[in-house]
Symmetry: D2
Subunit: 341 residues, 4 copies
């Protein structure tokens, strides 16, 4: 194909870097199928607007108000490569024009699920606690450090939220034959039953879970979903794993529960990052700390690049995208996301 | 049933404590089916010898030379509740008399498998490393700490040894769709293929494994199976998980590999326990330390008690045991075990 | 809620019957959430057009040209309850108006997958052949009838097409640890790899499959995909299972292969139904015949009703549908469907 | 190795044929490790007795009373290659001498499990019934023949007996997410729970099962386990699958239930084989007949040969057998088996 035959793709992935998401091989695939205008380092709106009328697709999350979309007459797809949908796009206008709005959330899901399981096994068995002790010469051997150790196998486990993260975590948990309950107010009970899951109310998952995974995204409804009242419902010795959004939990209430030793937690997301130097969380024994590291690993980023190439090729062939997440018109405006910085 | 109808069981579980392995409910089950002579705190050989001629079964691992077994004319089962078979029993004499020799190894397997996976996810993602950093105020956020993070999903994984531990670990690993190879010189290749596994040589599992789980028991053949030469074959960035027996690995060679940063490891068993206070292992960044804690958790101990009751009842009914591990006459004398102290 | 608060739903499911898809309980659910105008037996277009301007959703597959859709100003969803998308809807107009176009295909998938596996096991082992023989007194015992019997376990299996049917069949086949390859020209290889599958060309799946499942839908490209040349590539003794669309296969070529005894087949769909009384297919020994019965069982129909209720409630709550299949704008016009009569 | 170094193995597999169980490759493996004395066609007891004192192992099921075993001073293993343990061996004497008694039952289990599932899917959906109808021109299309069709997915399923057959069938059933209950009086409830199964009484599995698989072996206790009273407890429309032993069921009672149309059945084993020419079973519509064909397929026989070679090599290396079934001293005398003829 000659250059002019290939559909034009605008690449402006900031805050992503193109080399982080496209391996050389994926970049070569992209270039072989599309005419790529790389604006990774060109933030002049004029450059973008100049090529927009010819664009088949945009890789990135630039501002796309209705008036700009109106000039994108050949646009077929917007590929978000950050992971969240922001309010800087007029989604209704995009849908009305038949533009596919695609997200890369699924690329992070396996990394987050593995990390969440790692945190759960750590707080179940005291792995990082005893490793710390070893470095100060106070480690315990054989039975001495195992009084509160529990199996994941057969445990009562709750999920709050069953989207990409829950779907990726589920098979990992099922290998442990856990007794699983799912709370997700966006899903009908019969859908969960059909998928082989058992739906539950928020109260039920709180009261019964030995392991509780908080996987919910943030909307107006889910902010501080877990406050002092809710956390108090967790059974003694419960393990809380928080890997989605900090806004879902009241951190003061959580700190009080952890300080008392009543529950244990693995926490990857924080209301303020970095956590302040003198934050009392830094001295909690029952916490496994993590610095917003659950999803952003090299393999996840590389998967984004491959997903983008695969789905743009699908669309160019007149086929539906199959790897990225098609934005739900009902939800895309409800998330309260801000870019990870 | 009257007291005299119930078969007599000698309970002398040292170094186990009876209350650790029998929950009140399991103890009640045991007492309801058997006349229990509890010698937990009576180490006078005379007491044991006095009831031995009437004994249907022994729960524990007392010395049982041939001459003692010769007096145990009604003995049907010996239930080891420590986890290893020691050389203080004349196993050939027991087998010749039709006495079942049963081990409780399977009771620990799930606990060890979950722990091994926890160590693997920790070294894959730097969980305890970053938790430590947080406590000294040097933690990293988002991408900064993830340069060497890898997924378990799809990874090349090797198992050294495929006994109880490997069987318990396998379904956990399969949930990650790993590319698994197994080295076990005690198993024919066709058996592994039949079980859906891919056999490999030691050299193959060393050279290809991103995650290598050492699950082998110790025999004369497996002592220092992994020395400097073998460890050098591991690919850069490999994660080694050691949860079976310290004697399988040369710890000086392993320390050198970890000190160089070429590989990472999670290690639960040590040549000397406690590890000496000034051991350089205590300062290794690429290590997740654990103090022989993988198997001995409360749920594992309680499972031993239930297994013992279930299988003694089976044998008393003229049925084969189904929960404990029947000692293989070919192997029971080959292990080089010593009690965990 | 008062009657006027509830969104209006038009029910005109022909050729489906409302009582076939809605159990009394599902119908009650529907009525509790929506104001249902039941036009099941009212085919006067005037009745439909009268309520259309107020309609929130349509359950059925009536003609919906652009001009009709233009009057449906409050329409949010069209729920096809037949199973195929027909060309009597102006899909582009529907998408431009933000109307969800939903299909019930997934409701049949499990029934078809189970049936396909049943046919495969039948032709693998001669189940219906020997049952027929029994009724004429010529049955064979023990080894005599088993010369050509093969296991599904570990067999080389191919799928042609990986949509709803393939997804439902896959876990059933995986329980047999089959060596699976998938040919689907609508899916990128990397997507199949990501889902844990191995993609293959049509030629590969033909040449290697001991069991070949034809699950493809019909488009201009797939008509007579399997002619004499392609069928000749199947290995001797191959088992062909055909449960999707008759148009995919050349039935004269297939009959020749079956008559020769070189391959065996289970066939559920036919170019002309009923099959003519004197059709030579009726005398083929290597065939298991079925009369388009794979999908249409009572439980599948009832699932349609539940899916419709669940998804209409989702949309009414401002949430995306999760149970029905969202029509792909790229594909909905490409199928060559005609109603099952 | 020279001929005299290789352990001597007596091959007298009747009623099996050596070429049926040993592929040329497996036979070559056997010969390379052992000095094989092939008595397949030499039934003179003198020939057998002449080599017995030197024998390391016997492949077959010859008479082995205590006095004969007493002369087999180097015997280490008896490999039954028929599938059942007969009362022609003094098992107690063999065990006392430390001779391994091995069975080939597991080799048939996968074949039987696949067949049982095939029968279940057939009676669930009327596969052979409609194929028969097609051949007489009375077949039904689409909905007409599906009134009684049911899914296996989610169905209430019972197993009677959980030995080799149940273990092989279980993963196949689990792929259908069935609601499974197991009745096996030889297994403690806690063992079933530990294996992830739900134990039940005979009455429970009868009263609740939409699909009931009879997988029990025959002992004095299980003869006519299912008589008229028990069969009457099955729910209307139940599907009974009988693939183990005819003696477990009262065939007159079963015929009455099938003739009434109240239940359906797939039956592979018969009190008299061949079934008499005028047996009314031959005219039952609700029956899928099979002539004792579930297990004896070529791949199962070839697996026997491989199992034998693998395990004899294990024993010769001082390792336990891993592929054949080690006879349970408690059970080996309780079966009421007679050779399949």
């Amino acid at each position: 194909v000659t250059s002019s035959d290939r559909p034009l793709v605008i690449l402006q992935p900031a805050p992503q870097r193109p080399e982080r998401i496209f391996t050389p091989s994926a970049r070569a695939d992209l270039e072989s199928s599309f005419r790529v205008v790389d604006l990774s380092d060109d933030h002049d709106p004029g450059s973008f607007d100049e090529v927009l009328p010819e664009a088949f697709a945009i890789i990135g999350q630039p501002d796309l108000p209705a008036e700009r979309l109106a000039r994108a007459t050949t646009l077929r797809a917007i590929c978000n490569v950050e992971g969240n949908f922001f309010p800087n796009v007029d989604y209704a206008a995009a849908f009305a024009r038949g533009v596919q709005v695609l997200g890369c959330g699924p690329a992070y899901a396996q990394a987050v699920a593995e990390y969440a399981l790692g945190l759960a096994l750590d707080v179940a068995r005291g792995i990082s606690r005893e490793d710390r002790a070893f470095r100060s010469g106070t480690e315990r051997y054989v039975l001495d450090g195992n009084a509160d150790a529990i199996l994941l196998r057969g445990a009562r486990v709750g999920l709050i939220g069953y989207g990409n993260l829950g779907r990726a975590l589920r098979p990992l948990l099922e290998a442990f034959a856990v007794d699983l309950r799912v709370y997700d107010p966006w899903l009908p009970d019969r859908a969960l039953f059909e998928w082989g899951l058992v739906p539950a109310t928020l109260d039920e998952v709180l009261r019964r879970s030995q392991f509780l995974f908080v996987l919910a995204t943030v909307t107006a409804d889910s902010e501080h979903l877990l406050g002092a009242t809710e956390l108090a419902r967790l059974p003694d010795g419960a393990r809380l794993i928080l890997v989605s959004r900090a806004a879902v939990v009241d951190y003061d209430a959580l700190r009080a529960e952890l300080a008392s030793g009543r529950i244990l937690a693995g926490v990857d997301v924080w209301p303020v990052e970095p956590v302040p130097a003198d934050d009392p969380y830094r001295r909690l024994e029952g916490l496994v700390f993590s610095g917003h590291r659950a999803g952003g690993i090299p393999q996840a980023f590389h998967q984004i690049g491959e997903m983008v190439v695969d789905d743009l090729r699908q669309i160019a062939r007149g086929l539906p995208p199959v790897r990225m997440q098609v934005a739900a018109r009902e939800l895309v405006g409800r998330y309260r996301n801000r870019p990870v910085t």
